[in-house]
């Protein structure tokens, strides 16, 4: 009798809020990876950023998180019909030119307030945008709709923040912490930086560890459009950790 009542309640929720509003755990598909072609893929444990989940890039200023995120965005403009930047800060589209993006697929949402940023991100995730880059925080009450919207549509969500608040950290399924290790000097000139990207949270696979990346700045008199920042992986060290379902931030 209870089973019938439960089934009826489940059906009613599905009718009212859509078939995907309630999914049995046994019916839930495993997270699908979006292969970005960057070293970040190897840190996720599934071969790419998880679709339909929020991935966070965190770290202090000049730690390379935005550079990596922009290279993902440029890649997304080639692979998705809509790659969207929800900008609650001061995103300058010109910083993207060096990554050779596909401009037709790029849209920037200039949110005048965090509230608008949250609503825009949730609406676009629900509508099925392929890739959303969140620059800045998202109000806590928009995180639920954002997660569920992305989960339904399979949107790749990447957030870039210096230090996530508790709610944002909790909502993310995959979190990478960036920290600058060293500046790279060549012939007395600053040519880039060496950063460490460390997986600090992973709900989609056991946390795998960390890697080192080299980010090279442009040099010489080459026009900006010819320049593509080089993000290369250096001597990746995989720190094996005890297998566990997730790690806590």
């Amino acid at each position: 009798m209870q089973e019938v009542a439960l089934e009826s309640a489940i059906n009613s929720i599905r009718v009212r809020f859509g078939s995907q509003a309630l999914t049995r755990a046994a019916e839930m598909p495993p997270p699908q990876p979006w292969s970005s072609g960057t070293p970040v893929d190897q840190l996720t444990g599934i071969g790419g950023l998880p679709r339909g989940r929020l991935s966070l890039f965190t770290g202090s200023g000049t730690s390379g998180k935005l550079t990596v995120a922009l290279s993902l965005l440029a890649r997304a403009t080639h692979e998705f019909a809509h790659a969207i930047v929800v900008d609650a800060g001061g995103f300058d589209p010109w910083t993207l030119t060096s990554y050779s993006p596909e401009p037709g697929a790029l849209t920037v949402v200039r949110a005048p307030a965090l509230e608008v940023a949250g609503e825009a991100a949730a609406t676009l995730a629900r509508a099925g945008a392929g890739f959303i880059l969140l620059l800045g925080d998202v109000p806590e009450h928009w995180l639920g709709p954002l997660e569920s919207g992305a989960n339904r549509s399979g949107t790749v969500l990447v957030g870039v923040v210096d230090a996530p608040n508790r709610a944002l950290a909790h909502a993310s399924s995959f979190s990478l912490g960036f920290s600058r290790q060293d500046w790279i000097w060549e012939r007395g000139q600053l040519v880039g930086l060496r950063v460490t990207a460390r997986c600090v949270k992973n709900r989609v696979a056991p946390p795998l560890g960390e890697t080192e990346l080299e980010i090279r700045y442009p040099l010489g008199t080459k026009p900006l459009t010819d320049y593509r920042p080089r993000i290369s992986e250096v001597a990746m060290r995989l720190k094996e950790v005890e297998p566990c379902a997730s790690a806590v931030v």
Partner: protein, 367 residues
């Protein structure tokens, strides 16, 4: 081309099924007979004759005033229903319904369904004819028994013995044919179109083509109206926003299904709330990209309802889509990778712009 024709009585007669079996004449006094039931035929009453004459011939008939609007409404309803069975459909108020079954996967099933539909709508078994074109199909249907189908394989052979008066010519032209000795369609088919054109003008040429079964006329295909709507009346006036959202979602789903069947998208969306003891409140918007899915429609309408402050409890919710357009061009985005709902994203961006201003969304033009 394979055309099925269903013959029923004049649709004016279908308004009064209670009078079936009795002689009925439809028309206004001092005007001409618009329609007459089969029961008046033995008395010599025919559509087009003066009403006074009809009354003189058949005084026991029931005389009914015509209602053109109601008849056209019946025709539209029948057309819309038949449209589900074949892509090209024409229905005339005279009680003729054509379906072009060319290319229809299960033509037999469509014809059976059409028969059941006409029986349900008119209340009488239709006569059915299946032939290569509308003219021969109509004549075949006229010779079929009620509820039966007469198939014509070779239109010319079928038409040859039929009288010349079956042709769409006026009395003077028919008389002329008679004087020329052309009394059957076979006789007319045997002469050249130019010969008869020299006698009757363009109608003569047309008549020869019809008599030869060449079917020069195409069906005047019915097209669904370019608007649609859905509404829900509440037994008790509603004040709960969640309930309203629930109903709106259901209506959006119904409309999306209909739009999907018609391959159309909505360019204009209007929501009307009928209020208890108050003037109705309306909100509408024209969208740049046609909306066609539940998510698109409810994305816009749901956002309106969430912030709507009605001045009184709601008695009825209307969602109207007054301007529809073909959504076929959406297929151009079929190969856009990754996200298959590109139009929904565009619609979502438009809604955000509508709420927070045009400058919210920017599409950078990088050098």
């Amino acid at each position: 081309m394979r055309v099925c024709c269903g013959l029923t009585g004049h649709l004016e007669l279908a308004r009064r099924p209670d009078l079936y079996g009795r002689p009925v004449i439809v028309g206004r006094w001092d005007e001409h007979v618009v329609a007459a039931s089969e029961e008046t035929l033995p008395f010599g009453v025919t559509p087009g004759m003066a009403m006074r004459q009809a009354e003189h011939l058949c005084p026991q008939a029931v005389f009914v005033l015509p209602d053109e609007e109601a008849t056209i409404r019946i025709r539209e309803l029948i057309s819309a229903a038949l449209y589900d069975f074949a892509p090209v459909v024409e229905v005339r108020v005279e009680g003729i319904a054509w379906l072009d079954t060319s290319g229809v996967a299960a033509a037999g099933l469509s014809i059976r369904n059409a028969r059941h539909l006409l029986l349900k709508a008119i209340g009488r078994e239709p006569r059915l004819g299946l032939a290569p074109g509308p003219f021969s199909a109509r004549l075949a249907a006229a010779r079929a028994r009620p509820g039966h189908l007469l198939r014509v394989a070779d239109a010319r052979e079928f038409l040859a013995p039929l009288p010349a008066r079956e042709l769409p010519l006026d009395a003077e032209q028919l008389e002329r044919l008679d004087l020329l000795g052309l009394r059957s369609l076979g006789a007319i088919a045997a002469i050249g179109p130019r010969e008869l054109e020299s006698q009757l003008g363009r109608d003569g040429r047309h008549a020869v083509l019809l008599a030869r079964g060449l079917e020069p006329d195409q069906l005047d295909a019915w097209r669904p109206p370019l608007f649609t709507s859905a509404h829900r009346q509440f037994e008790e006036p509603v004040e709960d926003r969640e309930a309203l959202l629930f109903v709106a979602r259901g209506l959006c789903s119904d409309l999306a299904s209909e739009l999907g069947l018609r391959g159309a998208g909505a360019k204009h969306v209007r929501v009307r709330l009928e209020l208890e003891s108050c003037e109705p409140e309306t909100r509408e918007s024209i969208v740049r990209h046609p909306l066609s899915s539940t998510a698109e429609l409810f994305g816009l309408i749901g956002a309106w309802i969430k912030e709507w402050q009605p001045s009184a409890p709601i008695t009825e919710l209307w969602i109207e889509l007054p301007v529809l357009e073909g959504a076929g061009r959406r297929q151009l985005r079929l190969w856009a990778g990754g996200d298959g709902s590109s139009e929904e994203v565009t619609a979502a961006l438009e809604r955000l712009q509508e709420r927070f201003g045009e400058e919210l969304v920017q599409r950078p033009r990088l050098a």
